[in-house]
């Protein structure tokens, strides 16, 4: 990799060649993603990318999280930190200068018009600014690099991005004559709570109190709609859109029933407090009554007629639920100009013992640009959880195989060393920028994968900040690498041997 910077720290040119150790079987996509993610996060004015995936006689593997993105950041971030030191530019500032803004382009020109893709929005600068403030970056920077006995502290910042949402799935719900809202959720429940969080959108559009909402989930026999898989950091984006579409469909049907029974046109009516009623006061009816009327009216109102564009899977589920009340059912057809990506700025402070090479992470902060926050505790859990996954890659998680025999050696957790709860930073905080994405009705983007690279690289950059650039050429950075580099005054670990 070669990177050319202007005096001000702007990346003018990036020449990246990525070689992926693919393992023996199916193709892995990480290699190309390193180029795509680098082009987005650091917005080089000119870029050449070459990627090669090599089949190797080594144990099989699969991507873990932020595939290609983590590697992109782990390649780029230490180089940017080094450049900032050489150019005398603040580490936050150099990332700000190169950060994507608005509908930022990324990837190579493609198609007949040689157009580049672009994101729906990017508030990476805002994430960096907020993080610098909360972390008290300027104060800590001043104390960085000072020795206390055998200990030295360092601070690091890093940015990270990844995909954050897909489009085109379906929403399905029924208001029944008992006055309750029954929402069908096809979202896989991984413990992130998106299985229910996404559907707050429908409840809010309908003005339905959450305790009167029933969610059916967990099993395809329960008449669930066509839903995105719980992966690729797409759920909160994809399924709040679908929930919005289904909720709006139900609102329109409530308005139509009110107009039919009480006079006027549908637009004269609004919904709130479990009722549909005339704007500015006047006649109305309860949702319970409207649900009863939907069954009597039939057709589209109770699900006997369905939209043409919904998935076959949704059609089957909706048909099974038809006739039970007022049905909201729709495909997400909302406009979506660009690709949805979320951004994270990570800040870390480490303390390194130069006599052993062992270091501790004293503090970590991640500030995420995830659009509108749907559920603060859930987004916080995602941000810190995935940050920790990245930190694991920085501090010691590894897989090891014998290079001659191609056989796995680190087969147990005590050997491959994923981070434990005692390896988490002593303090960990998160925050969000909380600016809505303009290309999705609710404004929310995904956050599963984007924090990983920031978690890994903020720690790596903090190590370099404390000890200089001549320590490591690869990660994880373990005490042996630090100690031998300090002894020799140059990096001693083989750069192309990832895990030993």
């Amino acid at each position: 990799m070669k990177v050319g910077f202007s005096k001000e720290g702007r990346i003018l040119a990036l020449d990246m060649m990525s070689v992926s150790d693919n393992g023996p079987f199916e193709r892995q996509g990480d290699c190309n993603n390193t180029g795509v993610i680098s082009s987005l996060m650091y917005q080089p004015e000119a870029m050449r990318f070459r990627g090669i995936s090599v089949l190797t006689n080594t144990p099989p593997r699969g991507p873990q999280s932020q595939p290609g993105g983590t590697q992109a950041h782990m390649l780029m971030e230490p180089v940017i930190s080094k450049a900032a030191r050489k150019l005398g530019i603040d580490q936050v500032q150099i990332r700000r200068i190169n950060a994507p803004v608005g509908k930022a382009p990324f990837g190579p020109p493609a198609g007949p018009k040689a157009q580049r893709q672009y994101v729906t929005s990017a508030f990476a600068k805002e994430a960096l600014d907020k993080g610098a403030e909360i972390f008290k970056w300027e104060d800590r920077k001043a104390a960085s690099g000072k020795r206390n006995g055998s200990k030295v502290r360092g601070v690091g910042v890093a940015v990270s991005t990844y995909s954050a949402g897909s489009v085109g799935f379906d929403g399905l719900l029924v208001i029944k004559p008992d006055g309750r809202l029954y929402i069908q959720s096809g979202i896989g429940n991984h413990g992130t709570e998106s299985v229910s969080d996404c559907h707050r959108v429908s409840a809010e559009l309908l003005g339905m109190p959450w305790d009167k909402v029933e969610i059916a989930w967990g099993d395809t026999s329960k008449n669930l709609p066509w839903t995105c898989p719980s992966g690729g950091s797409q759920t909160i984006h994809a399924m709040t859109r679908a929930a919005h579409a289904a909720g709006m469909d139900a609102v329109k049907k409530l308005q139509a029933i009110a107009a039919k029974d009480l006079g006027g046109s549908p637009e004269n009516y609004e919904v709130a407090n479990e009722r549909v009623f005339r704007k500015g006061g006047g006649p109305g009816m309860t949702f319970a009554k409207a649900a009863q009327r939907a069954i009597e009216l039939g057709g589209a109102f109770d699900g006997h007629e369905l939209p043409k564009d919904i998935n076959k899977f949704t059609k089957t589920s909706a048909t099974a639920l038809a006739g039970q009340g007022l049905m909201g059912v729709a495909k997400d057809n909302y406009p979506h100009d660009g690709q949805s990506r979320s951004f994270v700025a990570g800040f870390a402070e480490v303390e390194i013992d130069v006599e052993t090479g062992k270091y501790h992470i004293l503090d970590y902060l991640a500030v995420a640009d995830v659009g509108t926050v749907i559920h603060p505790r859930a987004v916080g859990g995602q941000i810190l959880g995935r940050s920790m996954l990245g930190i694991g890659h920085a501090i010691g998680q590894k897989w090891v195989y014998d290079q001659h025999y191609g056989v796995a050696l680190a087969k147990r957790f005590y050997q491959n060393r994923p981070p434990t709860i005692l390896d988490t930073p002593e303090k960990m905080q998160w925050a969000t920028v909380d600016l809505p994405d303009p290309e999705t009705p609710v404004g929310a983007r995904g956050i599963g994968e984007p924090p990983v690279g920031a978690g890994a690289c903020a720690v790596l950059n903090a190590i370099s900040d404390a000890l200089g650039d001549e320590i490591y050429r690869r990660a994880p950075v373990t005490l042996d690498m630090i100690l031998t580099a300090l002894e020799a005054g140059r990096p001693m670990a083989e750069p192309l041997t990832a895990h030993i």
Partner: protein
């Protein structure tokens, strides 16, 4: 190479209730019998089918091999006493804090609750070639896979290697050697006492064993004499993670002073060789000298004399030098300011 994980193979299980019953069983089955205490070393071997004993003698029901007793100003610790019991024992902490500290740094809290001191000192090496069932010297073959130009040997030996480059992975072993402990070994022939320093053996003595324990023998207790009670201690363990790791290296030291100078001292390092190494040359060099940076630097330099790195474990040489230096300096360099 077996790849069937996490399913227990078939074996005959005995759960004797007394030391004599246990010894009778071990005598009857000889090398076919596997002695199991906490199971922390045993289960991987058995589930991976690398070791295939026909008989397992489970010590969990044996009376009289668990607990900490004061004895002649020292301690007798039953071999089946858990590491948690030792780490939290007021008796141990008060006078032999070195052992309590070492026991408290073993593995993880869950493993310390289950693992025993007898198991911790008698466990087999963690060399991942040997543990994977490769037919190496230690497994009865005629090659060391960890000592080749392409081997991954970051955690292997820098001292006293002899064909095999595996290391002893125990944290409590160096503390026991530093405290001049004695191991109580019972067999059908009766009881024998072995100094902790002699309990552990290198490949030059027997390449297939880590200790002097022979088939038919049982470690029942560990005696710690009064010698080092209340002395100044230093223990430090270097590891990748903050928990659940075997040592990359550890150091245990016990010292007494006369005025400002070292009157007597023990310094022991583990995970540098196949057995915990008592650093006699370091001890001899520092006795009579004051505790200061100069003495510490000297000790560190002496400690690593003769050390030979393999492909990936060169870091252990400066690490050992610095750990020994810190042990002599006694400055608690291993503790963190925040």
């Amino acid at each position: 190479m077996a790849v069937i994980h996490d399913v227990m193979p078939a074996f005959e299980l005995f759960q004797p209730a007394s030391i004599s019953d246990a010894v009778t069983l071990l005598n009857r089955y000889g090398s076919d019998a596997w002695v199991m205490a906490g199971g922390m070393d045993s289960f991987d071997w058995l589930k991976d089918r690398i070791k295939r004993p026909s008989v397992v003698v489970d010590l969990s029901q044996v009376q009289g091999i668990r607990g900490i007793k004061e004895q002649n100003g020292g301690l007798e610790i039953g071999a089946a006493t858990t590491l948690t019991e030792i780490a939290t024992s007021v008796t141990v902490r008060d006078r032999f804090g070195l052992l309590a500290e070492a026991a408290g740094l073993v593995a993880s809290p869950q493993i310390r609750n289950q693992g025993t001191i007898g198991g911790n000192v008698s466990q087999d090496t963690r060399c991942w070639y040997y543990r994977s069932g490769w037919s190496c010297y230690r497994a009865g073959g005629n090659i060391c896979y960890a000592d080749t130009p392409t081997a991954i040997n970051r955690e292997h030996a820098i001292l006293d290697a002899d064909r095999c480059v595996a290391v002893n992975p125990s944290d409590t072993a160096p503390a026991l050697v530093a405290l001049d402990a004695q191991m109580v070994i019972v067999s059908s022939r009766g009881e024998r006492l072995v100094n902790a320093e002699d309990y552990f053996i290198g490949p030059g003595t027997d390449i297939t064993r880590m200790t002097v324990l022979a088939p038919g023998e049982l470690l029942t207790a560990i005696r710690i004499p009064a010698t080092w009670g209340g002395a100044q201690f230093y223990f430090e363990k270097a590891r990748d993670r903050n928990v659940w790791d075997f040592p990359l290296l550890n150091v245990a030291a016990a010292a007494r002073y006369s005025g400002q100078a070292f009157e007597s001292i023990r310094v022991v390092v583990n995970a540098a060789a196949a057995r915990p190494l008592r650093l006699h040359a370091v001890e001899a060099a520092v006795v009579g000298k004051p505790r200061n940076d100069q003495t510490a630097d000297l000790a560190g330099q002496i400690a690593i004399q003769g050390a030979q790195p393999l492909r990936y474990n060169g870091y252990k040489i400066p690490l050992m030098r610095n750990l020994v230096k810190r042990a002599i300096r006694g400055d608690r360099g291993g503790s963190w300011t925040s």
